[in-house]
Symmetry: none
Subunit: 215 residues, 4 copies
């Protein structure tokens, strides 16, 4: 019997994943309150009693979904630590990381909807987790800003903490904008949002001939 020891366990892990998969999609498509435990179970042709062998209750699966979303966001922001040595390389890196984050949201509409819409107002615990995720994203952005300031690429007096959050908000707003567009027009729309955001980020709105900062 010992040789089969891991098999059921593995099978369970697999099923647990599948439940999260299904719930992820369903929560995004129909919303938390319109997605019932039985909806999720039915999606996988499971008895809905079975669900409770894998998750304590309905909130638990939602937390699992949220955690997956957060993990997905984390993936993007690690592995490209701030370290550019020239201004040009710096700007390029910032654009790259921003684009990647942006792509995560626009590439998976479910993810954006879960984190921006459904996760909201369900439960304190969930809110705290999402908040934490955004804080992590902000911390990453902040690290880049601080690196830029340290190297003199960015304004010395920059409020890195708050600016980081503003930048993230812009990324999310861009993602929202892209998702509002018809799916056929999304890549073009994405390019526009990206360049509008990058321009705002590096130059601000100013720079006209009679601009406040031009004299």
């Amino acid at each position: 019997m010992s040789f089969t020891y891991n098999v059921p366990r593995r099978r369970n892990e697999r099923l647990r994943e599948q439940i999260v998969d299904a719930a992820y999609r369903l929560f995004a498509e129909r919303g938390y309150h319109q997605t019932h435990v039985s909806t999720i179970a039915a999606e996988l042709q499971l008895g809905h009693g079975t669900f409770y062998r894998y998750f304590e209750n309905k909130l638990a699966i939602f937390v699992a979904v949220i955690d997956r979303v957060i993990a997905r966001l984390s993936e993007v922001t690690v592995g490209d630590p701030p370290g550019a040595e020239s201004a040009a390389a710096y700007r390029e890196q910032v654009e790259r990381i921003g684009a990647r984050l942006f792509d995560v949201f626009t590439g998976d509409p479910h993810l954006a909807r879960i984190v921006l819409v459904e996760a909201v107002g369900i439960d304190e615990l969930v809110s705290a987790r999402v908040e934490a995720a955004f804080s992590i994203m902000a911390a990453v952005t902040r690290a880049y800003l601080e690196h830029g300031v340290a190297r003199g690429f960015l304004r010395a007096e920059l409020d890195c903490e708050r600016t980081a959050r503003l930048i993230n908000a812009c990324i999310l707003e861009g993602a929202r904008g892209v998702l509002r567009a018809e799916s056929g027009a999304r890549s073009e729309e994405g390019a526009r949002w990206r360049s509008a955001a990058i321009a705002l980020l590096f130059e601000g709105v100013g720079g006209g001939a009679g601009a406040p900062g031009s004299t």
Copy 2:
């Protein structure tokens, strides 16, 4: 008799307002699904049947609450049409209108929570209404940007449509940031977010000695 003519009517209007008041607060504090019709009625020491004399159903009161929020937002953005003739006056006006909007959100934590959190995922109709309100805010911001471009205060190639939405997202993010702070520290925190946002808006993050745009 003539001077009491309107009283009954007024008393009704008054109660209706009180119901909206109570619902406004309760929806913000406990969320839509945790606020029951009977919760609202109990808050005003009314029988819950009474509620249905003033609102068709639970969704109706939520829409009323949302509409009040939207009206509040609209108030702020009218009455100060873009028209500055100098760069300095322009910047000042933009700061003023942004600050006012910002103050609405930070001045009434309920308002922000309703529109940002609770209004989301309840109902198509509600979402559409909130979406429309944000579109109006964006249109106002856009008008300012276009005026700035026309006068040469802002970059000619500015993507006014998208930048307007990015700016609004920054205002909301700032409001969120302030609401995260302890209530004692909010005015100081508000000042910081305001200046961070204004700086990002007009100058971007750049401007360091070795900044990308400095050469």
Copy 3:
């Protein structure tokens, strides 16, 4: 003051009648459970509190309506006491009284609907009253039958009690049949039902060449 003594009373009587009128029609058209106290009051442009000055409760107005229906039925069956001295006169009188009863039902679809449909299953008291009304109708019919038997116009062994009820059931069935017809076709349809019923009543279905009773 004494000279106005009866006026309010009379006015009340009048209003009470109007309430019964309205209720009569509404109960017939929409049914008992779909007709609310406020429906009746609104019909007369009364406050619905006023209703309770004239009727104890909702059941009371229904009883009043039923009583009116019963009174209407009684009117028809009095004033033409059985007393025909010849077979032909007897048959004519029976036809006349049957036709009158029949006309009451077909002439006022509301009446039939109230007594046949709405009065049923509401309340013991109401059922008993309707039952009593039918008993009265049956008693009248029975008196005619007994007169017919006494004079030798009808079979001596006739079960007058039960036959009377069967005959009344036929009258009601005929009325139902007429009401099923399009309103344009009702008078023609009425004639057919009348002759079918009269034929059944006096001759039965038999009388064919090979009929059981023909030998």
Copy 4:
């Protein structure tokens, strides 16, 4: 294992039947509006949520009850097609089928009450179904009458359509009459109604020495 294969299914069907049984009796005894979903569930010692696993809503169970009643009525009227070749056999067959129908009503007081009382005024759909059932009964009766006319057992000018309905009304009236009687006296009462109805049907009320049709 194969022999238990159907058991769970069967157990379900069984409970569903039991729910219909209970509802059938309760609707008959207390009426539709006085019978609550929880009343039915309690009768079977079920949680009232369980009810909804078997029926969509309260109307659905009522329709199920009505359909059972209709099925019961249909059973009686099939399997004895009109085909008697002699007048005596014809009369015997008509008596037999009438008696059977009559017995259904008098044998199950609930059935009569459901179809005659409770089914009325609840819902368009239900009314239409009951109406249809009566139409079917009428069609059967009519077929007998037409057969009788064709063979010359009955009057040639008989209005078979309407007379069929009149006869059915008499059967129902007889049933009603029996149900009015004390349960101890019902079989005797039943015999009287049957003979009164048969006599009316075949001979009419006439036949007295001085009867209208005797000359």
